[in-house]
């Protein structure tokens, strides 16, 4: 099922899980468990990921071509069970679009409140 023709706009707003996962791989590829830890830490446990929720989301993001499997980066080929994921161009675009949406919302609020 190709979703090239689905507009990025139709993916908005991103769910918190998807957003945080994209954030986690923004700086470079990570493996699943590391993404999980990063997301749980950054959201103070509010987006509590477990194996099912994490990999379910990863599966969906792979389907939507926001994420793709990648080779482990240099020097980290420790555990064969670790699979690494990286953001796709589409994923980057989605993250930027969502950030833009949040920014305009925040700006509106600041305008009215201040």
């Amino acid at each position: 099922m190709s979703h090239h023709d689905t507009e990025i706009a139709d993916l908005l707003p991103l769910t918190p899980v998807v957003f945080h996962i994209l954030l986690a791989v923004l700086d470079g590829p990570r493996h699943g468990y590391s993404i999980m830890q990063q997301v749980n830490r950054r959201s103070d446990g509010r987006v509590g990921l477990g194996p099912g929720t994490l990999y379910g989301a990863i599966q969906r993001m792979e389907d939507a071509e926001l994420l793709h499997k990648t080779a482990p980066p240099e020097g980290e080929a420790s555990d064969p069970r670790r699979r690494y994921y990286a953001m796709t161009a589409r994923g980057r675009a989605a993250l930027l679009a969502e950030t833009g949406r949040l920014e305009s919302l925040v700006a509106t609020v600041r305008q009215k409140v201040i």
């Binding site: 509590g48 990999y55 379910g56």
Partner: protein, 903 residues
Amino acid sequence: MGGRAVLMVYRAVSWLYPARVRRSHGEEMAAAVEWEWQRRGEQGVRGVVAFAVWLVVDVARSIVTHRLMPAAQRVRRWWRPHTSERMSYRRRRELVQTTLRDLRHAVRALSRKPAFTATAALTLALGIGANTAVFSVVDRVLLRPLPYPESGSLVRVAHPVPGYGSGEWGLSQGGYFYFKRHSRLLGDLGVYTSPSVLLTGDERAERVGAAAISASVLSTLQVAPVLGRGITADDDVPGAPPVVLLSHDLWVRRFGGDEAIIGRTILMSGRPREVIGVMPPGFHFPRQSTALWFPLRLNPNARPVNSHYFSAVGRMADGADVSDVGGELRSLVARFPQDMPTAYSAQFFDESGFDVVVRTVLDDAVGNASRALWIVLGTVGLVLLMACANVANLFLVRAEGRRREVALRTALGADRMDLLRHSLAESAALAVLGGMLGVGLAYLGVDALTAMAPEGLPRIHELGIDLRAVGVAALVTGVAALFFGTVPLLQRGERDLTEHLKEGTRTTTSGKQRQRIRSTLVVSQIGIALVLLAGSGLLLRSFLSLQAIDLGFEPQNVLTARLTVLPTKYEDAAAANRFFQSVQASLESREIVSSVGMTLQLEIADRAYDNATQLTDRPDGGETMQIIDQKFAGPGYFETMGVRLLEGRYMERADLEEEVPGAIVTRALAERYWPGESAIGKRLRPMFRQFPWHRVVGVIDDVRTEGIQLEPKPTVYFPYTDSRSTTMAVVVRSEAPLSAILSTVQREVWALDPDVPIAEVQSMERIVADDMARTVFTMSLLSLAAAMALLLGAVGIYGVVSYSVTQRAPEIGIRLALGARGGQVRAMVLGQTMRLALIGIGIGLVAALALNRVMNALLFGVQSTDPTTFAVACVILASVAMLAGFLPARRAARVDPLEALRV
């Protein structure tokens, strides 16, 4: 450590995760669980718990996200095959806009087809309006509680006396005090009578309804006055100073709503009473007309006598229910002969079957009417169903006609959801229109219902459309809209659009399916119509039977009125009697008056005194004392009422003054107490106040004193001069119109005494009619519903047959072209009509036979399975069906074969 154990745990729950994710990422998930365990394990017990929670929560969320939500999305995808998976907020906004647009389109489309819109809206309005109106009545009368606190625990107590007939007696004074002393399950008990009294004084004399109550009546009802104080136990003892409570209406109307009324004295029936309080507005116990309450001042130590004329109202103790209280009172009544032998002999108990019955006040007030009302509600519900079926039919026709438009739309990208939205928008607009019209009709209907309703239905005077009824109407409207908005879409997806897009295709599979649905709807309509027709037919026959009953007197052309004399102007009973006799004499001299008489109790309107009567000159030579209905009347009364004389003569003036005055008895009395002999010359006397013996001078045929539907009881008529009453009813027979008689009566009465109020002027016919009011009410409503059902059914049949003719035009054209005659084509169409009608009638018969058991309580003189009624109903329905099919049949015969065969 324990890694393998954790792996086993993981494997145990992993099957709960979605299969696809497990396939792609199973190893990673297992690894994640293991690493998390390692991490948490270092945190001791708390870590273990945290790990467990983490895993369980994740499994739960996973199930929700991956199994439940996709299922919901699958449903959504069925409606919208062309869209992507998630509904973003942009889509949601679009949805609102499109809905509004659909509504606008719907309104425009409906206004383009005024005939369709008007028919559908009016049909709906009929059904919804009838339902709202009837629901208002049922709600007020049956569903709302009475205006007393915790009215559910209020009960009435009465004494059935099956040995003496079907009536019920009130309580006796002795019985009342006995229950009060000994009952534990009755928290409170009060007794009362409802005389009418004369108010005189500063203003014009006025007769008002009053109630003589024990102080416990107010405490039982738990109603307190809004001004002043209520009647206390101190006011209710013999010799206490006379006091009175006013109703709110009376206080405002006659005393100007002046608060200074408290402590003032008013004249009630000529005697002064101090006003001690005013009751709250809306308090009308026991009758709507009650305006004054004063204490009975009964003596608890008085010797009990077998005289029962108190009505009783009680409140059950907490936790007791009606059957408990009934059982307790029954066991108390069983001790009456032992504890009150002077009043209740064992022989009396045997003969009368003296018993006690306890009923909730609501049951008592509404009685038979409740069943009638529920039946009526069911009836209009059926009519509404028929109306919806008709409208659904209309929609089906419309859908059929718009097949191509729908096919085009679908081909251009509309999905099922869009089509449904369009259809629902139209049906919603129609339903709202019909609903508004319906509520308007209901307003009119409620007015009519109130006018027709029998007296005595609680709260009937408070009728109006209330919010609940409108809410019900709205609900019904909504459901109706959903119903016939979706019925046309009730078929499988139309995959092959090309079939519809082709020109000239008239019959498709879905068309046939629609036609089947329509036929089913019409057949069920016919069935419902039969049920209603049969029901109203049965009621009509009951009504006719009631009308044909021999009352024992002739109510036509008789005017009645009540006259009351001021006790202060007439020193004693003799003076009052002289006045009444003068009135009669002066009326007799008028030409316009055919005959005149006086009576204490009007037939049907008033109850007889069922009191102890002593009879002698029995066949076995002895005396006996019996409880017999006693009435008081005078010379001229029997002739005026048109009562039939069987033996002896009517009462005469001389009978009033003899040493052994004359009395008239009914046939039932003569046959029961002097069987096989002539009753003339036998003696009897009432057992109170040292009455003299009376001699029977005449025997009249039985009179239905108590009511049309009750068997006549043995009755004796004593001269009214015995009764020492200051109120007497005058009956006047005349051919002249009511107003002429009334002004004659007024002239003669006021010429003799201008202070005598003339009250409750009614024709005897009116009194008789009121007695039948309940039956007439139900019957009228049911007949109205049957008429509506008949109309709707006819329209339904017409629609189906007419449409079928249009569909079959090519076939008919071929037949005609091949030489069939017009008459044969007509016969074919009519045959189809009859087939539909007969199936419907068959279904209706079965349903009617089952349901009419419900109606049994309302019927009189006819069985609920009466074959004649059913036969007539079937014939009427069949004829109407034929008539409805007539026009389409004619049209079929006129089909032009060339036109029909043109593709």
